[in-house]
Chain length 251, copies 2
């Protein structure tokens, strides 16, 4: 990538939008911490990390039911809450045994996830020269809570409940671009997931891969490296900032 | 108002959303400055403040054509650009006499308006305890440009192109609340315009009036004081912050 022009789109990048779960925040540690507290308070025997992984494993199938048209768009808050019931049952725990609100509170853990150490500083640097925001499956309320708690300095937050589409459906990438008054090629998606970047490229966006090799824990086997010729590949968001801003100065 | 509970809605306020043009930013000075430069560059004889007022006078009638269903939703950028043609013609200037892009650039003045002196600091203070954002007729791209240029520290920006409705249509107030995961009564509209607050109250929101007695210049005759029993009345956004945060501490 030379200057701020994306080789793949041929356009000057104006907005840098980020996948959030895994790319900006560490969902596994955050959810496992909440599960650990929940289980301890109720004397449940659970492996918090295993439980977090099982909860996350329901994420793509649940979104696929929306993407495929099997059900109309429902927010990620709704999917996380439904998936919690599924995971509890898989652990031989009856969701009906908890007071109303207890499981909703646990599911809110997805609103309050810790950022990776480089996220806040990297986004702050990129913000000086680009519009920055999430481009996430999260709904707007979730992303606002996350930003306030983690100190993510977004310019704008447009959740999946604005586009009413889940990535990698093209609308999920193209509607936020349109609301920013930009062509898709003027928007860069940053993600730790090659499949998300593939969707972004198909939708006409510029792309940047960030390796998050422990997102799924110490035995992660996927997304360890870029599997496509994305516009940029970085080791962290601060590394991405250096690459983008060097380009900005030179371009 | 006691604590953070709105007497009119009986709910605890979680988000404080602001009308922007006139309430947060000084559109008249900003637009007049851009018109002054535009006219000087082209040796046009224009009174910049009078021209700004005439441009703004087209604002409500243009939005009314959308609200009434006479035309489908179009963004405020489109309306500002169309209204510029109208105002030029009213000044005996042919819009067709300018190169493509010149009038679009002038209309972009509405993206880059100066904040009132108290706006940035007041919003920063309120942000510590509440979700803050614009609730404006502006489209998202306009509001993002405005925020970056003026340093407005919003948590979230949902333009009228997200709700696809212009205030005081109820959707214009209720859709942003829903996207924030809030009931209307948990959202406060802050505005320098009594009519906007009337619409917000009808839609179920809490309300705060801020006097901007020179928004329309030195001879302003309307909206000099609150004409309704709004939840709060303040002289500036920093004054509003003091009232909200005193309430927050006490509540």
């Amino acid at each position: 990538m030379t200057g701020c022009t994306s080789p793949s789109t041929g356009r000057t990048v104006r907005a840098v939008l980020f996948d959030t779960f895994g790319t900006v925040v560490d969902w596994r540690s955050g959810v496992a911490s909440a599960v650990r507290v929940f289980a301890a308070d109720r004397a449940l025997t659970l492996d918090p990390e295993e439980f977090a992984d099982a909860w996350r494993a329901q994420y793509e199938p649940a979104k696929e039911r929306v993407r495929s048209g099997q059900r109309p768009y429902v927010s990620l808050d709704t999917l996380h809450r439904e998936n919690l019931d599924t995971v509890l049952r898989a652990h031989d725990i009856d969701p009906g045994s908890f007071a109303p609100g207890e499981l909703t509170s646990l599911a809110a853990a997805w609103h309050f996830l810790p950022p990776w150490p480089d996220s806040v500083e990297g986004i702050r640097q990129i913000r000086r020269h680009f519009i920055v925001g999430p481009l996430s499956s999260g709904n707007t309320a979730l992303l606002v809570d996350m930003a306030k708690a983690a100190g993510l300095p977004w310019d704008v937050i447009l959740g999946s409940d604005v586009s009413r589409a889940y990535k990698p459906t093209p609308d999920a990438y193209q509607k936020p671009a349109a609301l920013l008054g930009l062509d898709p090629g003027e928007v860069m998606l940053v993600a730790a997931h090659n499949n998300d970047l593939k969707g972004a490229r198909s939708a006409g966006l510029a792309t940047a891969f960030i390796a998050r090799p422990t997102e799924y824990g110490p035995r992660q086997a996927t997304d360890l490296t870029a599997s496509g010729d994305w516009d940029l590949t970085a080791e962290s968001i601060t590394d991405l900032a250096s690459q983008l801003l060097d380009g900005s100065a030179a371009g």
